[in-house]
Structures are given as structure tokens and as C-alpha cells.
């Protein structure tokens, strides 16, 4: 009888590095790590050599030099005397503006279209199908160009708004008019909307490189306070409803709480709207929302929404018919069934692919230059790169920024995702 303890205990041999499951993975990892380190070292060495050959050095000092160029849309103050870094920030904010607005709109539109595609209305579901297929299967660059051209070719020039003395004398009306009681002008350059102006602003507070606008802060604080009070009110009402079944009328209280303090503050600050007016070549005053922004946002929204619609549709279809039937059998109407039963479940299926659509949209904002939109790629990766000739620095920085944005988006979404995970046994 062979006894188990007869088997001799092995001492360490070199071959165990490969053939012993305990060491094997260690060996592989060490080899991989060495290869990786070698590759990195090789790349770095090459880069250093190449930089030396070209007499360049790797540093970001150029970011603090004068940029010297102008940018059409600026969310923070910027002139051509500002630094390249400031231009980078302007570009980054422009990128984020499109990304944020685009993601929100694309989600709304995508859900709408996705639900409509499941509609029983033949025409609507077909129209939605056509929309989805057409947008999904043509490069997004084309849609961006198209949106821009349509916006700028179908709207009037600022000149068309002009009223000259002869026209007054002849009783002629100008070729184009402003909208919404003469507050909004849509020209072929963009939308001029009224800007909020304060006669008695609170001034600004300089905190190192950051300048805080106190007026805005005050306004935000008041609104936040009102919202908080209102939520208390609604919560109280809900409690009462839960206890008695009667819900006290709260809408007028809500209105008061929400609006009176804000309006009072606005009045105190001397708030009024500055409406745009035609002066010279363009409308002056107010805020100009350039068509390049609108077009990029609209095109990315439409393009991404087509994908989101498919995701939403698939998500809804993944919910078994039994759920709908159970909800109907309980007497829930189709709209409520969708909102209370189907969508909350579908969201779990929808969110992961939705994240990658958000990422795609954000990355696609880098095509903005095709329609004259100066985003991060247009400033840092375009004009700054061109003017300074620092392609290595600019490109690496740009990748780093995009990468951070992407990681933040997917990080946030992953947290959400984990929080809605279905509980199961």
C-alpha cells in the first residue's frame, strides 16, 4: 500500500517558477513588469534624444506667455493679452459647456425617441426609426457641418433688422424682427439673448487666481435657501397627506417662498435685463450664443440621441411583458406604468451603455473646430500648438485633460450604477 507520506517534500527548484501555480503568476507578472518598464524607458529615452536633436526642451512655461489671439465664446474673462493657460481654460470650459448641455439634451431626446419608437403609431415609430438609422450611420462630422450650415443659412443677417430713416418714411418694415417682445434676436451669427445686469452689484472678491462674483453668490445663496425652505414645506405637506390622506394646498406658499426672496434681492441689486440692440454690424449688449456652439451641441445631441434611443429601446424591451401586464392589471395607466414600473427597471440596463455614450459625446466635442467652435482642441490643441510649436506638451496635456474628464464621468456613473444594483438572493 502506497502511503501518502512517502511522497518526498520538494525543495525549491528553478523550474518551479514556471510550473508551480504559486510562483507561476508571480513570474509572469515580473516578466510583464520588466517588459513594460523597458518599453517605457525606451520611449522616454527616444523622446529625450529627439528633443535634444531638435534643440527643444520639455516644459510648460509657454502656458504663461501671452496668447495673442481672440476666442469667440468665453465663459470666463479673456482677451488676447491673457495667457495661453487662460486660453486653455476658456477652451476647456467651452468643451465642458457643449458636453454638459449635449449630454442632458441627448438623454432627454434619446429617451423620448426610444419610447416613441415603441409607439403604436405607425408613422411616428417609422419616423423615429428613420431618424435613428440615418443619424447612426453617417459620420458625426457631417452632422456637425450640416447643423451649422442650416443654422447660419436659414437665419437673417443682422442687417435685415435695420430700420433706416427712408424705411420709416416709406412705412416699410425691416426684413427681420426680434422675438419675444424684442428681447431676442436670432441672426445668422447666433442668438442674442438678454443679459442680466445689476445697477448696484456687490462687487467681486479676489481669491488668488480665482475671482468670485459676490452678486451671483448672494443670488445663489438666496435661491438655495428658498429651495430648502420649500422642500421643508412640501415634506410637511406630504407628512400630513400620509397621516390624513388630505394634502394641504401648498402651491401658493411654494410660489411665495421660491420667488419672493429672490425677486426682492434682485430688486435690491437693481436687476434689469439688458436687451440686445443692433449697433453697427452686430447686435450689441445682451449675450451672444454663437451658432457654432448651438450647431455643435445640436448635432452631437441628435447624433448621440440616436444611439441613446436604441439603448433606451433595448432597455425597455429587456423588461419582460409581465411587468407591464402586472401594472395594467393593478389598474395603472400606460403613462404611469412607464414611469413607475418600466423606466426605473430599464434604467439599470440602460445606464452602463449610456455612460459610454456620454464619453463619446464628450470626446466628439473635439470636432468643434469644423464649425469654428474653439474648444480645448481648438485652443490648446489648435492655435496655441500652432503658435508655440509645442506639440509634445500640448498634445500630452490635452490627452490628460480629456482622460480626466472621461474618468470622472465614468467614475460618477459607476457609483450611481452600484447604488441601483438590483437586490437579489
Amino acid at each position: 500500500m502506497a502511503v501518502a507520506s512517502d511522497v518526498p517534500k520538494e525543495s525549491f527548484r528553478l523550474s518551479m517558477l514556471i510550473y508551480d501555480t504559486r510562483f507561476r503568476s508571480l513570474t509572469i507578472q515580473v516578466v510583464v513588469l520588466i517588459l513594460f518598464a523597458l518599453a517605457v524607458a525606451w520611449l522616454l529615452n527616444n523622446t529625450v534624444q529627439n528633443l535634444a536633436i531638435r534643440g527643444k526642451e520639455f516644459n510648460y512655461a509657454f502656458l504663461w506667455q501671452r496668447a495673442g489671439y481672440d476666442i469667440q465664446q468665453q465663459l470666463i474673462p479673456y482677451t488676447n493679452d491673457s495667457t495661453h493657460f487662460r486660453a486653455l481654460l476658456v477652451g476647456l470650459l467651452n468643451t465642458l459647456a457643449v458636453a454638459v448641455v449635449g449630454c442632458v439634451l441627448a438623454t432627454i431626446l434619446g429617451i423620448f425617441v426610444g419610447v416613441m419608437r415603441l409607439s403604436h403609431n405607425w408613422l411616428i415609430s417609422r419616423l423615429m426609426t428613420v431618424y435613428v438609422e440615418v443619424f447612426r450611420n453617417v459620420p458625426v462630422l457631417l452632422w456637425i457641418l450640416l447643423a451649422y450650415v442650416i443654422l447660419s443659412e436659414t437665419t437673417p443677417e443682422p442687417r435685415a433688422f435695420r430700420v433706416t430713416d427712408e424705411m420709416l418714411a416709406a412705412g416699410q418694415a425691416p426684413a427681420a424682427r426680434m422675438w419675444l417682445w424684442d428681447t431676442v434676436a436670432v441672426t445668422n451669427r447666433g442668438m442674442n439673448i438678454p443679459a442680466p445686469v445689476f445697477d448696484r452689484p456687490l462687487g467681486t472678491l479676489a481669491l488668488g487666481p480665482l475671482t468670485l462674483n459676490l452678486t451671483f453668490l448672494a443670488l445663489l445663496a438666496v435661491i438655495a435657501a428658498s429651495v430648502w425652505v420649500n422642500r421643508r414645506l412640501v415634506a410637511a405637506a406630504r407628512r400630513q397627506q400620509e397621516e390624513t390622506g388630505e394634502r394641504p394646498a401648498t402651491w401658493w406658499k411654494s410660489l411665495l417662498i421660491l420667488f419672493v426672496p429672490a425677486i426682492a434681492l434682485l430688486a435690491a441689486l437693481g436687476f434689469h435685463l439688458e436687451t440686445p440692440a443692433l449697433k453697427g454690424f452686430n447686435f450689441q449688449g445682451g449675450i451672444l450664443v454663437a451658432h457654432s456652439f448651438t450647431a455643435l451641441t445640436v448635432a452631437l445631441t441628435l447624433y448621440t440621441a440616436a444611439f441613446i434611443a436604441e439603448i433606451v429601446r433595448a432597455g425597455i424591451m429587456a423588461i419582460s411583458r409581465g411587468q407591464t401586464e402586472a401594472a395594467y392589471a393593478l389598474g395603472l395607466r400606460p403613462g404611469r406604468t412607464m414611469r413607475l414600473v418600466i423606466l426605473p427597471q430599464a434604467l439599470r440596463v440602460i445606464v452602463p451603455p449610456l455612460i459610454s455614450q456620454y464619453l463619446n459625446l464628450t470626446k466628439n466635442t473635439s470636432l468643434g473646430i469644423a464649425v469654428s467652435y474653439l474648444d480645448l482642441r481648438g485652443t490648446l490643441g489648435g492655435i496655441t500648438l500652432n503658435q508655440t510649436g509645442r506639440e509634445l506638451e500640448c498634445m500630452l496635456l490635452m490627452m490628460l485633460i480629456y482622460l480626466s474628464i472621461s474618468l470622472i464621468i465614468s467614475g460618477v456613473m459607476n457609483i450611481y450604477n452600484r447604488s441601483v444594483q438590483l437586490k437579489a438572493r
Binding site: R54, G55, K56, G68, Y69, D70, I71, Q72, N80, V149, S152, E153, E157, R159, N188, R189, K279, G280, F281, N282, Q284, L288, A290, H291, S292, I369, A370, S372, L374, G378, G381, G382, I383, L385, N386, Q387, G389, E391
Partner: protein
């Protein structure tokens, strides 16, 4: 490492070109590159390799052009690039000549009622990005203490479309580009180019810093074209001139006497071949962008110095 040897070994000149700029360089329906800048490349190819067709054109964008040159991807960049101090120094490039003296100008619609760029306060300006235009523009408006709305456009055709649609009041780029655009608009008469030229834009061939022989070859190929015009040597009469001329400089130029070509490391008749490829400077100008063509540019600053222009070649001796 020497570019000349590399080109000879390869049997082909690689010339960085624009991705498509009317009159200066773009492929035609058959894929043959044509244009003012292209012809200079062909002349260099003819000088170095004896055959003007042995050129490969690599389209480069505003961002990629200098890197392509620095990294050796192209031997020579002839792509309407402005000669500036920082490009010469910081980017380690050499501008070896100026084949076109340009300047940044403005185009407006006639019925706008503007006759000077200084009246453009508050106007929306379409700028073609990728060169020095953005900076010149900012400086100009700043100096004159007027404001503007910049619309930074990626390429010429898009800028032209926006300008025509009235999305910008004025379109600014190099005057040659403006003229080319205007020539192809539905009603060219409706548009005017304003008199202000707000910058100097000397455009010329660029080579890598440090390879002086190669730089000399490109420079002197270009000068050869200028001298040829000056001396009345044309594509048509070059053979005849070569045999009959008594002008010593022309003789040296065409390799009939002396060993000037050899001094550059080229065959003695190299410059003759360069001229024979597409004719002299004037001919190249006239054929691609000159007054007979639909682009219809006047010689202006680009006339020979003898005719009041700036094109001036050093003596060939």
C-alpha cells in the same frame, strides 16, 4: 543624413504641400498636383533628380506641417508658410527664400458700405486658422482701438461659405487667398478687398535647420527661376538661349559654362532643368495665379525688382 543624398538615393523628392489651396497647390481631377507652390517643388526635383515628375506630395495641415519637416517626413515644405523669427529660431527651421510676398487683407461685401478696415468696429470677422492670421488680426484691431467678433474657421472653403452667407461681415486671410476666393464667387463684383494690408506675410520654402547645402539648393533653384525671368529665359526658348546666349551669367545658370551646378553637388545643367520644368518665375506665376487665370492676381510686390517689385535674386556667380 544629408537631405540631398537621401533624395538622390530615394530617387524622389518628398515635398510637403497644402491639403488643397486654390492656385497654390492641389490635385486636379487626375490626381496630378498643380499650383504655384507645387511648381517650385517640381523645379527643385528637376534640379536635383533631373525629372520634375519625381515628386511625392505629402499634404500637411497647419498643425502637422512643421513636425513633418522636422522629423524628416518631408524634405522640403512649400506650403504658403509665413517666415517669422520664432519659426526660424525656435522651431529650428530655415526659410530659404520668399516665393510670394503676401499680406493679410480683408474682404467685405460692397453693399456693406465699408471702405477701410478701420471702419470695421464691432464687425464679425472670419479668420482662417492655422497660420499667423489670428495674431495679426488681434494686433491690428488693438492698435486701432476697435473691437471685433472672431469666428475662427478651419479651412478656406468653410470661411468662404460663411462669408457668402453673411455669417461674418468680413473675411480675413492672405490677400492672395482673398483674391482666389473672390474670383470664384457667384458675383465677384459684389465683393471688395479693402486697401489695408495689415501684415507682412513673406511665404516661402522651408527646410530643416542645419543642412545648409540642401537649403542652398532650394534657395538657388528659386533664384534660378527669378534670374531666368530677369534674363528672359523661358521654357520655350531655353534650348535656343543655351546655345546662342552670350550673357555669361545666363551661361553659368544654364550650365553651359563654369561648374556652378557641381558646386552644389548637382549636375551642371541642374538649374537649366529646373527652369525647363515649368518655366521661369514669371511663367509659373502667370500660369497658376496670374492675371490670365481665374484667380487673377496682379504681380504687385512679386514683380521683379526691375519692375518695382521685391523679387530680387542674388547674382549667379
Amino acid at each position: 543624413q544629408a537631405t540631398l543624398e537621401a533624395v538622390k538615393a530615394r530617387g524622389e523628392l518628398i515635398c510637403g504641400s497644402n491639403t488643397g489651396l486654390t492656385g497654390f497647390g492641389n490635385p486636379d481631377a487626375n490626381g496630378n498636383w498643380v499650383g504655384f507652390d507645387v511648381d517650385l517643388c517640381r523645379a527643385v526635383a528637376a534640379a536635383v533628380l533631373g525629372d520634375p515628375t519625381k515628386v511625392k506630395f505629402v499634404p500637411t495641415t497647419g498643425e502637422t506641417r512643421f513636425t513633418a519637416l522636422q522629423s524628416g517626413e518631408v524634405d522640403l515644405l512649400v506650403r504658403n508658410s509665413t517666415w517669422t523669427a520664432s519659426r526660424d529660431s525656435e522651431l529650428a527651421l530655415d526659410f530659404v527664400a520668399v516665393n510670394y510676398y503676401d499680406g493679410q487683407g480683408f474682404m467685405v461685401k460692397k453693399d456693406l458700405g465699408v471702405s477701410s478696415a478701420k471702419e470695421l468696429d464691432g464687425a464679425t470677422v472670419c479668420i482662417q486658422t492655422g497660420t499667423t492670421t489670428e495674431l495679426n488680426l488681434a494686433d491690428f484691431f488693438k492698435q486701432n482701438n476697435i473691437s471685433y467678433q472672431p469666428v475662427t474657421v478651419a479651412d478656406d472653403s468653410e470661411a468662404q461659405r460663411q462669408f457668402l452667407a453673411g455669417a461674418c461681415d468680413t473675411y480675413t486671410t492672405d490677400a492672395s487667398g482673398l483674391a482666389a476666393s473672390r474670383a470664384t464667387m457667384p458675383n465677384p463684383g459684389d465683393y471688395i478687398i479693402l486697401p489695408e494690408i495689415i501684415s507682412k506675410e513673406p511665404l516661402g520654402p522651408v527646410v530643416r535647420h542645419g543642412d545648409n547645402n540642401w537649403g542652398d539648393i532650394v534657395r538657388w533653384t528659386f533664384f534660378a527661376l527669378l534670374i531666368a525671368e530677369e534674363k528672359g529665359v523661358t521654357k520655350a526658348n531655353i534650348e535656343e538661349v543655351a546655345t546662342s546666349t552670350s550673357d555669361e551669367e545666363v551661361k553659368r545658370l544654364l550650365g553651359v559654362s563654369g561648374d556652378m551646378g557641381a558646386k552644389f553637388g548637382l549636375p551642371n545643367d541642374a538649374f537649366k532643368k529646373a527652369i525647363a520644368a515649368n518655366g521661369n518665375y514669371g511663367e509659373i506665376f502667370a500660369a497658376n495665379i496670374g492675371e490670365g487665370t481665374s484667380i487673377n492676381l496682379a504681380r504687385g510686390l512679386n514683380a521683379l525688382w526691375t519692375q518695382g517689385g521685391l523679387q530680387y535674386a542674388a547674382p549667379f556667380r
